[in-house]
Symmetry: C2
Amino acid sequence: MKQSSKNIAIVGSGLVGSLLAIYLKKAGHQVTVFDRRPDIRNVVFSGRSINLAMSNRGWKALRGAGIEKAIREIAIPLYQRALHVKDTPLYYQKYGKQGEAIWSISRGVLNRKMIDLAEEAGVVFRFEEKVWDIDLPTAQIYTGETEKSEWTAYQFDHVFGCDGAFSRVRHKMQRRSRFNYSQEFIDLGYKELTIPPNPDGTHKLDKHSFHIWPRGAFMFIAMPNLDGSFTCTLFLPFEGRESFESIRTKPDARKFFATHFPNVMQDIENLTEDFFKNPTSALVTIKCYPWTYWDKVALVGDSAHAVVPFFGQGMNAGFEDISELNDLMQTHGDDWEQIFSEYQERRKPNADAIAELSYRNFVEMSSKTANPEFLLQKKIEKHFAALYPDKWVPAYSRVTFSDRPYTEALELGDQQERIMKEIMKMPDLEERWDSEEVTQRILDLLLENPVKTP
Amino acid sequence: MKQSSKNIAIVGSGLVGSLLAIYLKKAGHQVTVFDRRPDIRNVVFSGRSINLAMSNRGWKALRGAGIEKAIREIAIPLYQRALHVKDTPLYYQKYGKQGEAIWSISRGVLNRKMIDLAEEAGVVFRFEEKVWDIDLPTAQIYTGETEKSEWTAYQFDHVFGCDGAFSRVRHKMQRRSRFNYSQEFIDLGYKELTIPPNPDGTHKLDKHSFHIWPRGAFMFIAMPNLDGSFTCTLFLPFEGRESFESIRTKPDARKFFATHFPNVMQDIENLTEDFFKNPTSALVTIKCYPWTYWDKVALVGDSAHAVVPFFGQGMNAGFEDISELNDLMQTHGDDWEQIFSEYQERRKPNADAIAELSYRNFVEMSSKTANPEFLLQKKIEKHFAALYPDKWVPAYSRVTFSDRPYTEALELGDQQERIMKEIMKMPDLEERWDSEEVTQRILDLLLENPVKTP
């Protein structure tokens, strides 16, 4: 259905804000994007970002905006995990037999490109203009130099809050009665580090792998960039024996890297310097409801549902919000109240599901990887999945390589957990984990434990 | 241990703020209480309050401040519940054999009295002075007419946020990284209503009872005041068939009261008028952590842990915070960092426990009271408790008439739930619920299911 042209404000020029801007502009609206920060195209990156893993849902949303091809050019496909397990030779896990891949993209590079594309489409960006207040019922926004300086008022038809986990727009909604809200931090922080390219510009590690050094309570990962470097992320507890707090000096840092990540020794000076140069950032899950105010204001992406990054779905989930909004705009035309109300009703359960899946991956990573029983369980699952790929789709594949709702992936995960709980009770499992008997029992349990349709 | 005199600010002149002020003043500190509202002693009450049920923890805190006697004079003991169940004659449930009582007090009357007592002790109150900002590391607070007007800065040694569920002080802490926070509203709202006294000044219902009209999804309660009136509270869903939304006109309200609460028919005009005069308020559970910032700022009462009112413990829990703080001040003297850190570590699990217990009471009230199995379970519990009062202390008694930690009451509740889950599986229970067999099975299960010490 065709929509009348509206005057629309987007708060936040990040990935979700700029993609939504392109969609809305192409749908015929006037679009102004406000950002309190300077134009990211003119500044040095902040050193606090994790490379993005664009997967199916992200690509689908980019395709819908007609910019998939442009973004593929700045992305590198990763076909496998490269596991740097301690005291074990490096080994690989393919994402799928059909060449499935996640795509590594630098957040900064992607954001610059998206703003370029949005500007080309006719979107107006107002950088370094901070939104201090929003009048929700009238979609009026107020900007100014400081909270106490003179403010400028702008009148819009609709306002989208794409201003991230610490959203100002949501903050305004939060002061209303009956607005449910939670922010829960985990005890782990993260820091961006870099492995530079070889002198000839090539990558120092396989460039088509997602490199992981799992260490139980902490973890190091590396994802390739186009320039031959890797953007690395160290996830580490804030406090405790091995923690950000316990690494105070350069010798501390060198010792830490040398002990735990010996195969990146050649870059230890670089890692150590980055360690003290770059900030330590916190990781938070944010949930709220409602996401919209009448037909006037809607939250999209992290402002509505920030998740911990252990499923690589934060951006993908935000982009999927936009696909869903676009579908609803096509269906309901000028009935924005209906668009917003269906948008939040459809997306909220899925946002909760990916938050839960992401958090479970954190728990799994940080407390279960050293548990022999857990490792045995994973071995059995993998064995069964190889025999019956249609009957045992890992939650990871369902989330990453399909666009079925996140709620289904969560239900699938729950079903598999129920089944494996029974399997793990079988006696002498260590000896016969790959036996026909165990396989048959899983087949039986699959029939007894159907996936609950959400 | 004696403390050096400090210059202390309290934000909020409500019950918790004024009681804390008395404690701190008596410990030798300079105390200034800020409140954005006018002095409650000079204004008409707002019509949005539920009468308070002072119980053991509250009295203990008042005793510690030397004001128990003064407050008893404005309170009415309630020795029993008076249950106005539909199509059933009025019946009573005593709180205990030893004359245990909860005490009904009007929030406004109590607050006025507490401010009087605090002023007599030498506390300075600054009413109609709104705190807009707090610099947490320096304990500096900023007040002003409006957010954009000129602000006045005050320097303190410590600041206590006693400014309730929508605390400005917590709001400032919430903007920090790694501050966990949640606000969850329930679908029920409430409205204050009044049953006036008889012409001769006496109460229209038994004045030593807590009157309850349970109606499943909604509920009406009445608590006596000294002037012969009852402050009543209607708890009702915001939306749905029987809801605040569905009662739009005076005839709607009259019909609603006449249908569901026929024995208050004589006051229907008064109730109906109140219904449209008084606001509908929302009910929220608020959790956060940490509660303190260095040795500078601490949250006390609802600002740290607002609960739904279905256990009558909101104020009692806030007052218990103060008892605990006072104990720690005695123990640690001038080591405020230690005082604040132990305060939050000790109180947080108990605050979470009373939040959970309060929420469970809401669920029980709103969705289980019509369930025959639930009613049978309660009948069995009551029967057993009468036989073995030492072995089966209802969670309500443990919370209301003891000062053992809330966490223990929650564990006790969980133990009882585990036991009753087994009991309810026994066949033909309707016929033999009071049999020796069932009693013996409970005794056995008590041994098998010890209370987990938190």
